[in-house]
């Protein structure tokens, strides 16, 4: 879990993460909340209806039972007339004039039935029939046909005596005019005094009283209410064509008193109440849609509002994510560019937030890298070029030519010792300068080389050149760049002898103690007493030294070359500086760090 969570947070892009975060924090909780609250609400409506409906049904069922009981109890009205009871007790006459007695009895009884039962007190009674000792007494409000005593008494065994029965219309052939729905209530007329039965009374009752009771139960427009017996046979239904049909699902009902619901095919809520008297069941059915009709509108509106809200906030969060990731993506692209070597990039973002800061830093970084690369590159280039020229200078062809000519003159003159010495000096110089393995050499060797050069020049110029070297430094211990003194000396001789007959060169090497702003090191001062140089000329040379750009082939190239090498090797403030006064001579000062040879070797 933790792994997938972590991999989820490392694997996916910011836009995805932000959208998921948005969904998790907004859309899902809100839709869940909405869904749950709607569900809870409908459920509470269902529960409320489910709770109060059975109570109402129970009341209605009780009313119906009470009505039925009332109708059944009208049998007692028979006992009000001793005459009728007497007729029923005595049974059909057997002896003389049986026919007239029988008809007279019938007249008496039916007259009584008409007066008592078909009066306005009992408007729901359609007709009343008495079966007594082989006789039938009958009286009805409507014309009828198909009254069959056998079908009514069928199934009424001796044990059923005294038990009330209700006969549904489909069980008999009795039909009233106009086909009103009716019930037959059957009750024995007991002879309580003699403990026998006087007969059976059948009362036909229209079902309209059930309709009246159910009408009082205002269940809502879509509700359906019906009455059925235990087997699911519909006793009463507002749609009279369904009376007598069977309701197949009655057997599936999970209870007989209470409420329940089903989800398919339609969501419906049921309420049932079963009569303890006759097992009839009053059923109430309403589609849940009908109950929640009012909330349905609210639900639709909420869904629309929610979808709009989700769309708007989703778009906003997408925009924010895009705004947030777009510079990052651009940065990433630019980084790829930089990676490929293109440093000429610029991330143009003005915002002051973290992203803007990042872009700013990125720009600064790229700029710095660019500068560093350029610096490094140019420095390298310059050094290589300088070294190349230095190499060239080490074996300056003019010098070689002049020296060889001097040797040649000396040979012609037969100055053997002089020749030998010059050749030896030249050889040593060549060996020193051709040794490319080392860039740093001990100062002593460099001094030797400078002196070798001066000695050869001395042979050439004889008394026109004078020099003096003074070293106050442990010259063997400290190192220096190779061939830095020779070009300076060359320069001094050249300019020193240009307009004068004689030049004197002084070279002093001293230890330079660290002072304020200066790290210390070794100072080599080369002074000549030549003509010096004009202020303009001096400024020009100084400018040349200050210029770190490409070294040009110039009159003072030698000085610039040395300066450039020292500076690029050791950095400021090391290097070369020039002092000069017209007519009085020039002083070149070389400053290098005190570089112990052990460190160089290492």
């Amino acid at each position: 879990m933790n792994m997938t969570f972590r991999s989820f947070f490392t694997r996916y892009r910011f836009t995805s993460k932000l959208m998921i975060a948005y969904l998790l924090l907004t859309v899902i909780p809100m839709s869940l909340l909405g869904y749950i609250s709607y569900r809870q609400y409908t459920q509470s409506i269902e529960n409320q209806v489910g709770r109060y409906i059975p109570g109402l049904l129970r009341q209605a069922m009780d009313k119906i039972d009470l009505k039925l009981e009332e109708f059944q109890n009208t049998v007692d009205l028979i006992y009000n007339s001793d005459e009728i009871v007497s007729i029923l007790r005595l049974g059909p006459p057997s002896a003389e004039s049986p026919q007239s007695r029988l008809l007279q009895d019938r007249y008496t009884v039916e007259n009584y039935l008409s007066r008592v039962y078909l009066s306005s007190n009992y408007k729901d009674i359609l007709g009343v029939f008495i079966l007594s000792k082989g006789r039938i007494f009958q009286q009805a409000k409507l014309a009828y046909e198909g009254f069959e005593p056998e079908s009514i008494l069928r199934g009424v065994g001796e044990n059923d005596r005294g038990h009330d029965r209700i006969i549904l219309p489909y069980e008999t052939n009795l039909r009233f005019e106009g086909n009103p729905p009716y019930l037959l209530l059957v009750r024995d007329i007991g002879d309580f005094d003699n403990r026998t039965t006087l007969g059976t009374m059948v009362i036909a009752v229209t079902l309209s009283f059930i309709g009246e009771v159910l009408d009082e139960l205002d269940g809502g427009e879509q509700a359906e209410l019906w009455l059925m017996d235990e087997s699911g046979l519909i006793v009463y239904h507002p749609d009279s064509s369904r009376i007598g049909t069977r309701y197949a699902e009655a057997a599936l009902f999970p209870l007989t008193d209470g409420s329940f619901k089903r989800d398919r095919p339609v969501k419906e809520l049921y309420g049932v109440s079963k009569s303890p008297e006759n097992g009839w069941m009053l059923v109430y059915r309403i589609p849940v849609r009908g109950l929640t009709a009012e909330t349905e509108g609210v639900r639709q509106a909420t869904i629309v509002a929610f979808v709009l809200f989700a769309a708007v906030t989703g778009a906003i969060s997408l925009l924010i994510a895009w705004r947030f990731t777009r510079p990052l993506n651009r940065l990433s692209k630019l980084m790829v560019d930089v990676q490929r070597g293109n440093f000429e990039v610029d991330m143009k973002i003005d915002s002051r937030d973290e992203v803007g800061l990042l872009a700013h830093r990125f720009n600064a970084m790229v700029k710095r890298i660019r500068e560093l690369i350029l610096e490094n590159y140019q420095m390298e280039l310059r050094q290589r070029e300088a070294e190349w020229y230095a190499l060239q200078f080490q074996i300056n062809p003019h010098f070689m030519y002049n020296t060889l000519e001097t040797i040649s003159v000396a040979v012609e003159l037969g100055e053997k010792e002089k020749v030998v010495d010059m050749v030896a000096l030249l050889g040593r110089m060549l060996r020193f300068s051709l040794d490319n393995r080392r860039r740093i050499v001990p100062i002593a060797e460099e001094l030797q080389h400078a002196e070798d050069f001066l000695r050869i020049q001395k042979y050439r110029f004889e008394d026109a050149l004078e020099y003096d070297i003074r070293c106050d430094v442990e010259s063997a211990r400290y190192g220096t760049l190779k061939v830095i003194l020779q070009p300076i000396l060359e320069n001094s001789i050249k300019y020193g002898l240009e307009h004068r007959q004689k030049v004197r060169i002084e070279m002093i090497i001293t230890q330079l103690d660290p002072a304020d702003g200066h790290p210390g090191g070794i100072r080599i001062v080369i002074r000549d007493d030549g003509i010096g140089m004009s202020a303009e000329r001096l400024a020009e040379i100084r400018g040349l030294l200050a210029e770190t750009a490409v070294v040009r082939r110039d009159a003072h190239f030698g000085l610039a070359n040395v300066h450039s090498r020292i500076e690029s090797r050791f950095g400021k403030p090391y290097g070369l500086s020039v002092e000069s006064e017209e007519g009085k001579g020039t002083t070149v000062i070389v400053e290098i760090p005190a570089l112990p040879m052990e460190e160089v070797a290492a």
């Binding site: 009871v85 005094d193 026998t196 209870l255 008193d257 409420s259 490929r340």
Partner: protein, 364 residues
């Protein structure tokens, strides 16, 4: 270097693919969650169930007890109580009650007390007594009640403290006054009459006699009660006593027979002494005992209720009391009709008059 770089870009592109649709997953889960409902085997889900009180009582396991009810008559041998027993048996069969019907050989307190004591030992749940003596039975009935037996009276009451309920066949005042009225109308409110009663200890008979006297004193000054004789619920004795009465009082115009064997005894005596029609006989007796005498004219009118019905009602009430249900005024008792209730007395209904014209309608 270049290849590595492209490789990295390529990977990041493919890595983006699943992420694009990942956010749909919770949404899909939501849809699935909302669309699915747990469904059971039946299509219906109960919301609320009403627990009916009647179910608890109707539960057959809750009523394993079969009540044992004892019906004690004044005397076992006479027709009236035998018929009452028939009604009681019918009720016992209807209601699932075990009935023990019994009575003393002699209609008096001590004999009846012995009968009751025997019933206490049998462990009955209820005893319904038609008391021969209102006071004499008090100790034994108290004893029965102390043992948790329900004690009630029927037909003839005891003192109220001896029983829980009295099932009375008729209102005693109504019956007594009516007997006087019937005889007065037959005698045109003049002449001498005597009362032949079944017992001078039975409370119901004494009450009726009392109201006969009251009615005579209030309305019939020209009539005279000359004698009251008790026969001990003995048919032969009733006949003998009636004969003696007729001889002792030669001017006697009428006899009121109280207790079911009194009118037949009186009618037989009148008939045998050739005084049919001359001495009027009324009283309280059963149709079957009186049918012949009524038709011959030896007796004119007898009054009664249905003893069958009384037996039935007594057993019904015993069971109701054992179930803890007290009767209420106007209650409709199945196969009996509506009853009246006065305090701790149930009144079954109005008395029936039997004459030679309607006596054939009745069979008890």
């Amino acid at each position: 270097m270049r290849a590595r770089l492209e490789g990295r870009i390529g990977r990041s592109r493919t890595g983006r693919r699943p992420g694009r649709f990942l956010w749909l997953l919770p949404l899909a889960a939501l849809l699935i969650a909302s669309g699915c409902n747990a469904s059971g085997g039946t299509p219906f889900k109960v919301i609320h169930e009403v627990k009916a009180k009647s179910e608890e009582q109707a539960d057959p396991a809750a009523e394993p007890q079969r009540f044992k009810v004892a019906l004690v008559s004044k005397i076992a041998t006479i027709h009236y109580f035998q018929v009452a027993e028939d009604g009681a048996r019918e009720a016992a069969a209807d209601l699932g009650v075990e009935l023990i019907s019994t009575g003393p050989e002699v209609a008096d307190g001590p004999h009846q007390e012995a009968t009751i004591r025997a019933l206490i030992d049998q462990g009955v749940h209820a005893i319904a007594v038609a008391a021969n003596d209102p006071v004499a039975l008090l100790p034994v009935l108290r004893e029965a009640r102390e043992k948790g037996i329900l004690v009630m009276t029927w037909d003839s009451d005891t003192v109220p403290e001896a029983r829980t309920l009295f099932v009375n066949q008729v209102d005693g005042e109504t019956l007594g006054r009516r007997q006087m009225d019937l005889l007065a109308s037959l005698l045109e409110e003049r002449g001498e009459f005597a009362i032949l009663t079944g017992s001078n200890t039975a409370a119901n008979l004494n009450e009726w006699v009392h109201w006969i006297k009251v009615q005579q004193q209030e309305y019939y000054p020209n009539m005279k009660l000359v004698d009251i004789v008790a026969n001990g619920e003995d048919m032969e004795r009733a006949y003998m006593l009636a004969k003696e009465l007729l001889i002792r009082h030669p001017d006697l115009d009428g006899i009121i027979g109280i207790g079911s064997i009194s009118p037949p005894g009186a009618a037989r005596a009148v008939k045998e002494l050739g005084k049919t029609g001359q001495v009027k006989v009324v009283g309280v007796s059963t149709p079957n005992l009186m049918r012949e005498y009524l038709k011959e004219g030896a007796a004119q009118i007898v009054t009664l209720w249905s003893p069958k019905k009384l037996g039935y009602l007594t057993v019904y009430m015993a069971r109701e009391l054992l179930l803890g249900n007290m009767p209420y005024d106007g209650q409709r008792v199945p196969k009996v009709g509506n009853i009246r209730v006065k305090d701790d007395m149930v009144i079954m209904g109005e008395p029936l008059d039997f004459t030679k014209d309607n006596v054939d309608e009745y069979d008890f």
